[in-house]
């Protein structure tokens, strides 16, 4: 019972200590075995593996269809609307964007009959985004949504990134109120997640902290800010001049800056642990990419 005795001694010494008053020096012999480092090393290894995308570098057909939709058909609609729809073009465009961005994703996603686990992951991430947006309600523009969406895109691919983003935009407005801005927000969040997924798969974006933060900043400032400022301009006025565009971007810049720094902040503190957690879930429950 030698071990037991040493445990008793230890407890007396450990619990008996008071913070300020110094007890008599009692050194515990250090065992020869160092701290369980191989275990730490193993975890680090897992993380290293992750950094290099194991994924195939080739894009799937579905992804191509989505890219064409987003990069060709949507700008085409915007052009068409501005050219032909007269005064009401911006509403035409915003509706066009809802239809075009969502149709391919819906078709693809619904068409392949997603598994229960996929649904759960998307729902959880979207719920985290919504709860995050609600939790920081007192700080305008300081939201973790974009960070969550980017992480979703990096870990679960472009499609999931888009769906999480769009879902956050849609559901959070059930709590904050729907309006003409809903489709724009859904699209902006979605496209940020989508691009994060694509860039990661192509190997252009690594899951390292600095890279994610840079992407997060650029995406929030230029994609989210760019789209949302444009949308408010279109809502207010239908005569678009360089001056009015510039004016709206300048007035929007401080808000976008706060939003972008929030994204950077959240990615800086949370991206690594969050990605680790998601990777563990993927491994543990066989959710590795299809």
């Amino acid at each position: 019972m030698l071990q037991d005795e040493s445990l008793d001694d230890f407890l007396d010494a450990f619990l008996g200590e008071k913070g300020h008053q110094k007890p008599e020096k009692k050194r515990w012999p250090t065992p020869a075995i160092p701290i369980n480092t191989d275990n730490l090393a193993a975890v680090a290894m897992v993380h290293k593996d992750m950094k290099e995308p194991i994924a195939k570098k080739k894009l799937s057909k579905r992804t191509w269809v989505a890219i064409v939709m987003i990069l060709v058909i949507i700008p085409l609609t915007i052009w068409f609307g501005i050219r032909f729809m007269g005064d009401r073009k911006y509403y035409f465009i915003s509706m066009g964007i809802i239809v075009y961005t969502f149709v391919p994703f819906l078709m693809v996603f619904e068409g392949r009959k997603p598994q229960a686990r996929e649904l759960i992951i998307i729902a959880i991430l979207a719920a985290i985004g919504v709860a995050g947006r609600a939790a920081f309600f007192m700080l305008p523009q300081f939201k973790p949504v974009v960070a969550v969406v980017i992480i979703a895109g990096v870990c679960f691919g472009a499609e999931s990134g888009f769906l999480v983003g769009a879902m956050v935009g849609f559901v959070s407005n059930f709590f904050f109120g729907q309006g003409p801005w809903t489709p724009w927000q859904m699209f902006s969040f979605g496209i940020i997640g989508f691009l994060a997924g694509i860039l990661f798969r192509k190997g252009l974006l690594k899951s390292s902290k600095p890279q994610l933060c840079v992407y997060g900043f650029l995406a929030t400032f230029f994609i989210y800010g760019g789209i949302m400022n444009m949308s408010s301009l279109l809502m207010w006025s239908s005569i678009i001049t360089w001056k009015s565009v510039l004016a709206v971007y300048i007035t929007g810049a401080p808000f976008d800056l706060i939003h972008a720094s929030a994204t950077v902040f959240f990615l800086f503190v949370a991206s690594k642990p969050m990605i680790e957690k998601l990777e563990r879930i993927k491994k543990k429950y066989g959710l590795i990419e299809r």
């Binding site: 445990l7 230890f10 407890l11 010494a13 450990f14 200590e17 009692k26 563990r280 066989g286």
Partner: protein, 546 residues
């Protein structure tokens, strides 16, 4: 190997209970009864369902015919509305709206769900949630119902309600039931068959009474998980049939002692072991309510806990036990009266003084403490990381490594260092949480329902650990529904009712003074012996009188 050489057959309409220690493979076995839930791995042997291999039954048949209720009431719910949840399985099976409407209406009526049919699921209590899970499975009209420790997260009243419903399903509808359960005293009397598992094998199987005999023969420690009457039966030599309930137990006692001259009928009440007169926690005429417009939750509560004492607060739901605990910890503040810790007003102590080296509070859900990806890192996390350097949260002269190793040894978790906290079993998670709390060197421990969801084996282990801490001067205040645990390990028990402690005493005096709110062993033996409150007491008394 999770399962070894298991052979069993279950007839239609049977009520089968599978029991065993945590980690004995019962959940793994249950999961083999439904293909979609079967864990990955290698399996040899065959599983037959209706005389055909289970794999041959397609997913549709399996989904419909084999219902599966899991452990956590909260996690099983998928949708946001009660009615939608009820319809979920039927939607999967592709029924049309009129059929689903009928089935859902039937289920809502049978389970008494009408009143909260249109609610959001978040508004339901734990018991209601688990009932909803059961109802949404039953809506698919399964012929087999599998339940994996369905009551472990419920309070005693909700748990026995739930088990009553399960019994009713078996009795009224003839549904075959296969379940694992810790709360055997409620379920064994109606079980047709019981399987006892250990280390992946079935070590005993048969009717509950046969099990009693078999286990006595084996001398296996699984016996500690059986209901008190069966434990007493096992501890005593007799030729009588094994009693299952307290009622049968009383009869058995009378029959057993018949003809013997019962001389020794009383266990002397022990004097409270006063090791010190030092009062550590004191509540003086404390009143508390959550809001100005709400009723009082704690009313004129006075309480004194001495150094090194193990104080148990027992009592029903919503009587204010947990609230009192939060008053002691300073999370809530009384509007009248005083809370003194080590003679100082809790309100005047800083968080650092209070929570580092003084108070340790174990939350009900241990998972709310886990931060890191391994047990070891999680322990270091409490004291500011693995670097051997003193900081504001760790000012001990003992090396961090020594402290972590010793605490882990104390709580029997040193073999789990490399694991992820969420991969541990419930009992292990509980011990890890306690270990994390112990890293802050508390001298007073506040525990809220620490035995919830634990089997008897883990309870004993926890009890032993708490004893050890007590020996080193740690004071423990525990809130619990588990009177058997309090009787075994407590120094003082207090009955909480309507915001106040009605009576408090040493466990022996306390429980023998109550007639309803007491241990099964006491209820079974009180007509013959006085003051026998634990199984061990009763066995000792029986042996002494032969």
């Amino acid at each position: 190997m999770a399962l070894k050489d298991i052979s069993l057959s279950i007839a239609e309409g049977d009520f089968v209970v599978i029991c065993g220690k945590s980690g004995c493979g019962k959940s793994t076995l249950l999961r083999h009864f439904k293909s979609v839930l079967t864990p990955h791995g290698k399996r040899s042997g065959e599983i037959l369902f209706n005389d055909k291999p289970l794999e041959e039954a397609d997913l549709r048949t399996q989904s419909q015919e084999i219902g599966y209720v899991l452990q956590s009431p909260e996690n099983q719910i998928v949708t946001d509305k009660v009615w939608h949840e009820l319809a979920f399985g039927l939607e999967s099976l592709g029924y049309d709206t009129p059929t689903i409407r009928l089935r859902v209406a039937e289920m809502a009526s049978y389970f008494g769900i009408q009143a909260w049919f249109k609610r959001n699921v978040t508004e339901l209590s734990g018991g209601q949630k688990q009932l909803l899970n059961l109802a949404s499975i039953m809506a698919m009209h399964p012929s087999v119902l599998i339940l994996d420790e369905p009551t472990s997260q419920l309070d005693p009243i909700a748990a026995s309600d739930f088990l009553e419903t399960v019994k009713k399903i078996n009795r009224d509808l003839g549904t075959t039931i296969i379940m694992t359960e810790h709360r055997l005293e409620d379920i064994l009397p109606v079980a047709d068959r019981v399987m006892v598992m250990d280390e992946g094998e079935i070590i005993a199987g048969g009717t509950p009474r046969e099990i009693g005999k078999q286990l006595r023969g084996l001398g296996h420690d699984m016996f500690l998980s059986m209901p008190a009457p069966m434990q007493i039966f096992a501890g005593v030599e007799s030729d009588l049939a094994c009693p299952l309930t307290v009622r049968e137990g009383r009869k058995w006692m009378s029959a057993y002692l018949q003809g013997n001259d019962v001389k020794k009928t009383k266990i002397p009440l022990e004097k409270p072991e006063i090791e010190s007169d030092e009062t550590v926690v004191e509540l003086k005429d404390v009143w508390f309510r959550y809001d100005k417009n709400f009723p009082d939750v704690v009313k004129d509560l006075s309480l004194r806990v001495k150094k090194g004492e193990f104080y148990c607060l027992v009592g029903g739901n919503g009587t204010g036990k947990t609230t009192s605990l939060s008053l002691i910890s300073g999370l809530n503040k009384p509007y009248r009266g005083k809370v003194l810790i080590n003679g100082k007003d809790v309100r005047k102590l800083s968080d650092k003084e209070l929570f580092h080296g003084m108070l340790g509070i174990l939350p009900q859900n241990p998972q709310s403490l886990f931060v890191k990806k391994t047990v070891e890192l999680d322990l270091y996390e409490m004291i500011g990381g693995t670097k051997e350097k003193k900081n504001s949260v760790y000012d001990s002269d003992i090396e961090k490594k020594t402290a972590v190793d010793k605490i882990a040894q104390l709580l029997h978790i040193e073999h789990l260092f490399a694991q992820h906290p969420y991969d541990l079993s419930g009992g292990e998670q509980q011990r890890l949480a306690l270990a994390k709390i112990m890293m802050l060197k508390p001298t007073i421990l506040l525990l809220d329902e620490p035995t919830k969801g634990l089997d008897n084996h883990f309870k004993r282990e926890l009890g032993g650990i708490l004893r050890k801490l007590q020996e080193h001067g740690v004071t423990i205040i525990m809130v619990s529904h588990d009177i058997e645990f309090c009787a075994l390990f407590g120094d003082v028990c207090g009955l909480f009712f309507d915001g106040n402690i009605v009576t408090s005493n040493t466990p022996r005096a306390f429980f023998s003074g109550n007639s309803f709110y007491t241990t099964a062993a006491n209820r079974m033996s009180r007509h013959v012996f006085e003051n026998a409150i634990t199984v061990k007491d009763v066995i000792t008394c029986c042996r002494m009188n032969l």
